[in-house]
């Protein structure tokens, strides 16, 4: 009954109707939303403002005093200079990039090859492999940490870039394969058949046809995986450790909290450095970001 009603009158609101509705929504709705937005923004704002204040000022007055009197307050870049140099956040930043970029590209590549085979090639066990991939998606990575660490110790992979790339590849692969499968399997059959008729080998079909067509799905997963690896603490703590040469932004920041827990000028600048890349990615690629976040939310 309700379906027949909805099909007759579900037509979208006209601009005018929408405008009237928006005005009718009235003050209470806007005030509530405004309050929530303020509550959600103030924590990050406090961090950002404090990171540009001198150490003594942070300790002796609230950041809001500087925020509301921006022209009389003291501002400084000294915190950033110290945290990048003396506190090795600069080194951590470059290590983070060197780990995160390959740890994003490798799983996408491996997953794309696998998704292509699962979607378009005939081989025994195809269906079971796919169901297993779906199952592995939610396995907590805690299940892998102890045994993989033991193998890494034997192979001297501890504390290496390679060890980190492969670990993040392993943990990201089920989701990547699942997402790319969903996309690649929906490519029209005719396109692949005509490529085959033209004599294209599977490898050529994959590199020249499938990969270019899959760019939207790849972009969404790439953003998700990039942020996941960049923001990860646990995998880095276990496989990379906190020895000085290997620190990344998250392990370095966690270490600073432990060793200089009251030095807010260092912590706020350090924290802002670790979140600046994700914020840029978020603000510039918001649409892909939201899609990737939603698709990636099931990761184990």
């Amino acid at each position: 009954m309700s379906t027949s009603v909805s099909t007759t009158t579900v037509a979208p609101l006209t601009v005018q109707q929408k405008r009237i509705r928006a005005i009718l929504a009235g003050i209470p709705v806007r005030l509530t939303v405004l309050a929530l937005v303020v509550i959600w923004t103030v924590p990050t704002l406090g961090l950002l403002v404090s990171s540009f204040r001198p150490a003594a000022a942070i300790r002796n007055t609230g950041w809001w005093t500087a925020f509301f009197a921006p022209f009389t307050a003291d501002w400084t870049l000294a915190n950033y200079i110290q945290v990048i140099g003396a506190d090795r956040m600069g080194l951590a930043f470059s290590n983070s990039l060197l780990i995160t970029i390959p740890a994003t590209v490798i799983p996408i590549t491996i997953a794309a090859f696998a998704a292509f085979a699962l979607a378009w090639m005939e081989f025994p066990g195809r269906k079971i492999v796919f169901i297993i991939v779906v199952g592995l998606m939610v396995v907590p990575l805690q299940m892998s940490l102890i045994p993989v660490l033991r193998v890494y110790t034997d192979l001297r992979l501890n504390g290496t870039y390679l060890g980190m790339w492969l670990a993040h590849t392993g943990f990201g692969l089920p989701l990547a394969t699942y997402l790319l499968y969903g996309y690649i399997s929906s490519i029209p059959k005719e396109i692949l058949e005509s490529a085959h008729a033209d004599g294209a080998s599977p490898m050529l079909t994959f590199t020249r046809l499938i990969m270019p067509l899959s760019v939207p799905a790849v972009a969404s997963f790439a953003i998700f995986q990039f942020l996941w690896v960049w923001n990860d603490l646990l995998v880095a703590l276990v496989f990379l450790g906190t020895r000085s040469a290997n620190v990344i932004v998250t392990t370095r920041l966690a270490e600073l909290v432990g060793s200089r827990g009251q030095d807010w000028h260092v912590l706020t600048a350090g924290a802002f450095l670790t979140i600046i890349i994700p914020l840029i990615v978020f603000l510039s690629l918001q649409r892909f970001f939201v899609r990737g976040m939603m698709a990636g939310s099931v990761k184990g």
């Binding site: 299940m143 892998s144 978020f282």
Partner: protein, 367 residues
């Protein structure tokens, strides 16, 4: 004449085959050794950092492609029937190898380790599980985990839904801006978020300046400053608040899409029947998006079950704030008790097992 030509060609093929096999084998071998060399180079602490960086990016990004192309090259040199049956495995094989090495085998090993002693050398039966459910500090850890599992989904989903419904009534620009601000924390790492909130909860003894926002508010209202992170058991709620702050945006975005799917005439009909906005919310909108609510709740439950970073940075599990995933790290990698660590990991796995089985079943039916 023609027979000579034919003979020549046969000869050619015979001559070519060993060479082709050789080339087919040499290319993957060279690829392999180049990669091996570069890994050793990257491990070399004396190598200049910029060179290491370049090698790392080239190897990390290009190496895996090189491996596939080399393998593909190897297989295409083979007789056609062998080639056709092997080729799918060139494509899917590396993924299977990685999944086996990093998830399947380690998980099985973790289950067996959970039945062994500290170093994994002796079978101890269910001792580690008995520890997990009887040790006094573990009981607090389990209580905290339960608290997280109830409070975080309850708040994120209801707040997310509330915001989704409210912004739906605003202008398009207003809605977009509001959603961006609520969603923004989702990009921030748990570590970064923990530092942000440690600053908010910062405590100085009475009489001193209070740069921490929460204590500044308390003092301004005439109260005395509190060490929020040490007041048990309420300190758990101060950690949980961080997670709510981070994840409400996620619930909001997904629920917002669902709320927009509620047919307008359904809402109008309810309003014409005299239902107030509150009744419309509870009797029309919530039933309509209940499926989405379930999905979001499940997703956040899985996430909360594995929460580690927030506890690690905020309190290191002190002041009775431990949770299972944090305790797993602590037992395995700080106390070096692999048996207990493995048992706690297995408990996390058992927690997600119903969801895993449901997902696999629905895939099986779908295809």
């Amino acid at each position: 004449m023609s027979s000579v030509a034919k003979k020549d060609r046969v000869f050619e093929i015979f001559a070519a085959t060993p060479a082709r096999i050789l080339v087919a084998l040499i290319i993957p071998t060279i690829t392999f050794f180049v990669l091996l060399w570069s890994f050793n180079f990257m491990r070399d602490a004396r190598a200049p950092r910029i060179l290491v960086a370049i090698v790392a990016l080239v190897v990390g990004v290009g190496g895996v492609w090189a491996l596939y192309l080399a393998l593909n090259h190897l297989v295409t040199q083979m007789p056609i029937r062998l080639r056709d049956s092997l080729l799918p495995y060139v494509f899917v094989g590396p993924a299977l190898a990685v999944l086996t090495a990093y998830i399947v085998l380690p998980s099985l090993r973790t289950v067996t380790l959970s039945l062994m002693n500290r170093a994994g050398t002796e079978f101890v039966g269910l001792d580690n599980y008995i520890f997990a459910f009887t040790d006094p500090s573990m009981l607090i850890t389990l209580r905290n985990t339960l608290l997280w599992l109830v409070v975080v989904p309850a708040f994120t989903v209801s707040l997310g839904l509330l915001i989704a419904v409210l912004v739906d009534r605003m202008s398009e620009t207003g809605e977009k801006v509001a959603k961006t601000f609520i969603f923004l924390p989702l990009a921030i790492s748990f570590v970064g978020a923990s530092v942000i909130w440690r600053f908010i909860y910062f405590y100085q003894p009475p009489g001193m300046a209070q740069p921490g926002l929460l204590n500044a508010i308390v003092v301004a209202l005439g109260g005395s400053p509190q060490g929020w992170l040490t007041i048990r058991p309420w300190n758990n709620f101060f950690l949980i608040a961080i997670m709510i702050w981070l994840q409400t945006g996620f619930a909001m975005v997904i629920l917002s899409a669902a709320v927009k799917g509620v047919p307008g005439d359904l809402l109008d009909a309810a309003r014409i029947d005299g239902a107030g906005e509150v009744r419309v919310f509870f009797n029309v909108i919530i039933p309509y998006v209940s499926g989405t609510i379930l999905t979001v709740t499940t997703t956040i439950l899985i996430l909360v079950l594995k929460i580690f970073d927030v506890v690690f940075v905020m309190t290191s599990g002190q002041f009775q704030t431990g949770v299972v995933a944090f305790r797993m790290y602590q037992e395995a990698f700080i106390f070096r008790h692999f048996g207990r660590g493995a048992a706690l990991a297995t408990l996390l796995f058992i927690g997600v097992l119903p969801i895993m089985i449901r997902n696999m079943k629905s895939m099986k039916e779908r295809r």
